[in-house]
Symmetry: C2
Subunit: 413 residues, 2 copies
């Protein structure tokens, strides 16, 4: 399958990215193109124009996911889908999401340019509200498509101004008839890594094997509030000293479950707190991630054990409340292999990697054989106007996407 595929046009991909980045461009070089706004509409219309230029029709489903369709030789076959999102964070970058969409477009353009047809039809999808910054939760469009979320519930979600998702969709004429997931043979998504690993390892392609499971907790430590002056060290029940030992233990747990575990305490508060009062009440959060649910469950057990032990040693009461949970999502072995083969075939340095962030592909993976292709981003920075990536890395990711999509859809004779 690796033979006979043309090279994609990296310059064309880059110039499309730069053209799309003008829509919602910020003074600091980033992009603000919030979901379901007029700017989001401008972005989608530009894409629809480009796709029409290579013979693709478009349609919407009931949550406004946009599908650009390239017929195959046998349209009775389930389509092979690729895509990502065009909406951005309020101070977002030029590549997050957009790269996956325009890499798909570049795949279509390359096939068209070389007069190549696939056996199965192809679909390029733009998911509605991946970012979740205007309407929460994120990954709303793929969540509805995969029946993770109910459509009516999604319509009722409001932004800070009280505007409903359903009303914005209607305003743009983006409410199609289709509800829920139509049959899809496979889904591939190219994306910047949004982390520092590929750059640090000097790899061009990340072969994404799946997404981390996540467990979030809230921990409350109750000690004894007391005056910082007259209370000797040995008689204290200092909730912050106790909490800071647990923070250390949480961090150590990440290293103990290397290389895939991630453990983070992102928020901490002394309640009510005063400079000269021994803290009696400390609240903090724990975010634990691992690509293996069993390992993640073991980590949750360790969190409970170590926190309880430290609490006893520090004479504090420690309460651990589960806050949120998301199962680990392994990707499809066949899709993973196609991505790896594509990187090998084109001689790109690559490595297996786990996605730490959420992506539409994670919801898709629950329904459809799914793979992802990561490319490096500068310093691992994303969700930031400074977000940057190299044209040659983006081109490589697009080339691997062509390989994977054609591998699944089959090149017609």
């Amino acid at each position: 399958m690796t033979t006979g595929l043309p090279a994609i046009n990296g310059d064309r991909l880059w110039s499309s990215l730069m053209e799309m980045a003008k829509i919602g461009a910020t003074a600091k070089g980033g992009v603000c193109r919030l979901t379901l706004t007029d700017l989001d509409k401008q972005g989608r219309e530009l894409l629809i124009d480009w796709a029409a230029g290579v013979g693709c029709a478009h349609e919407y489903d009931a949550i406004g996911n946009l599908f650009l369709k390239r017929p195959g030789r046998d349209n009775a076959l389930d389509p092979v889908m690729t895509g990502s999102h065009l909406d951005s964070q309020p101070t977002g970058g030029k590549f997050d999401g957009v790269f996956g969409v325009l890499a798909g477009l570049e795949v279509f353009r390359t096939l068209e340019e070389h007069g190549l047809a696939t056996q199965a039809p192809l679909e390029l999808t733009v998911w509605t509200n991946e970012e979740g910054s205007r309407f929460s939760p994120p990954m709303l469009g793929s969540g509805v498509f995969t029946e993770t979320f109910a459509l009516d519930w999604a319509y009722g979600i409001k932004d800070d101004a009280g505007i409903r998702v359903g009303d914005e969709l209607a305003r743009h004429g983006w409410i199609g008839n289709a509800i829920g997931n139509h049959p899809v043979a496979a889904y591939f998504e190219a994306h910047i890594e949004q982390g520092p690993v590929l750059e640090a390892e000097s790899k061009t392609i990340g072969v994404v094997k799946g997404a981390q499971g996540q467990r979030w907790f809230e921990i409350t430590v109750l000690g004894q509030e007391a005056h910082a002056g007259p209370t000797p060290m040995a008689m204290r029940k200092d909730a912050l000293v106790c909490a800071s030992r647990i923070v250390q233990a949480v961090n150590a747990m990440g290293f103990e479950h290397a290389p895939h575990a991630c453990t983070t305490c992102g928020l901490i508060k002394v309640i009510p707190g005063s400079r000269n009062v021994i803290p009696g009440n400390v609240w903090f959060t724990v975010d634990m991630r691992h690509p293996d649910d069993a390992e993640l469950a073991a980590m949750a057990g360790e969190l409970h054990d170590v926190s309880t032990r430290i609490g006893q040693e520090q004479k504090c009461a420690v309460q651990i409340d589960p806050f949120w949970e998301f199962h680990a999502t392994p990707f499809d072995r066949g899709c993973i292999d196609l991505v790896r083969q594509g990187a090998d075939a084109w001689g790109y340095a690559h490595m297996d990697i786990i996605s730490g962030a959420g992506h539409d592909a994670v919801y898709m993976a629950g329904k459809v054989p799914t793979g992802m292709i990561f490319v490096p981003c500068e310093n691992g920075i994303s969700h930031n106007e400074m977000e940057n990536a190299k044209s040659e890395d983006l081109a490589a990711g697009c080339q691997v996407l062509l390989h994977a999509v054609c591998g699944k859809a089959g090149l017609a004779g």
Copy 2:
């Protein structure tokens, strides 16, 4: 000097305390008698009545400190002073401050009852705004008396409603002519410990040897904000992990400089902070105390060294900013000895102790030979409506106060 002194009347002391506690009594059994309010005036007027009953005149100085004067045999001698404060925290207790004032009154009453005169005159002082909860800073009256604070500056301090100290003093008619400290032979203050040591050690009397020096710092840790998912443990610059190691080190330092060191981190903040973002900026406070300034300086040096080392190990920048400083205040050896002798003479279990909290006596100690007498309070709790103390312990503290005051003033043969 220990012979010939009568027993004070512990029941009378207790009933005076309970009577005074009715002024500003709270539903939960505490007291809210904020400085310079009408309730504060009621409290002072009750005291003035009681003192008049034992032949004491009263006068105010320019910051409203109230002096109740019991003449001696030789009124050319400098007076021996005792006292404390009648103002309370918003949710304060019945004993903090009030005990020292009413113990002084009980000393006067006991002397009067037994027809005893002292060589030097005695003064019972009620300091203005010791608590600092309505008008900041605390210990304002003793601070002006000892010329720690300028009078005009003190007049200009406003409460949350914008009311000035000077205007409240004028409203009550509490602005006397005297400015600054008149000569005083010695100052003694009886007080509940506001800490748990005496109770834990089963001692009735704490012989206070001085007040801790204090150094307050603010520490800022700068790491690298990053996504909690895609950022491997080894590539992180987690400012909270770094800060929590410093919190541990600060706590350990308190134990290393036992038995007198106290080290506390009372506040901590992740800025801006999010559950799934590795903290890039953490701010926290350090309160370090020790009765020996040289030792305290050494601790400050260690704080700098250990924080810098931890910062390097955690790949974070650590900035340490001094915030406030208060020198250690040793009390007068003669006054300390009188307190200890009094406890011995009356057979009270006693121990030497250092004051961790601030008191008017700490300012006085900078100008005048000073001693303090601590008695236990239940569970070490103070600045709380639950504040409690045993009648027999309070009586013992008052008895030792009588001994010390008469020891300095001399009983007239």
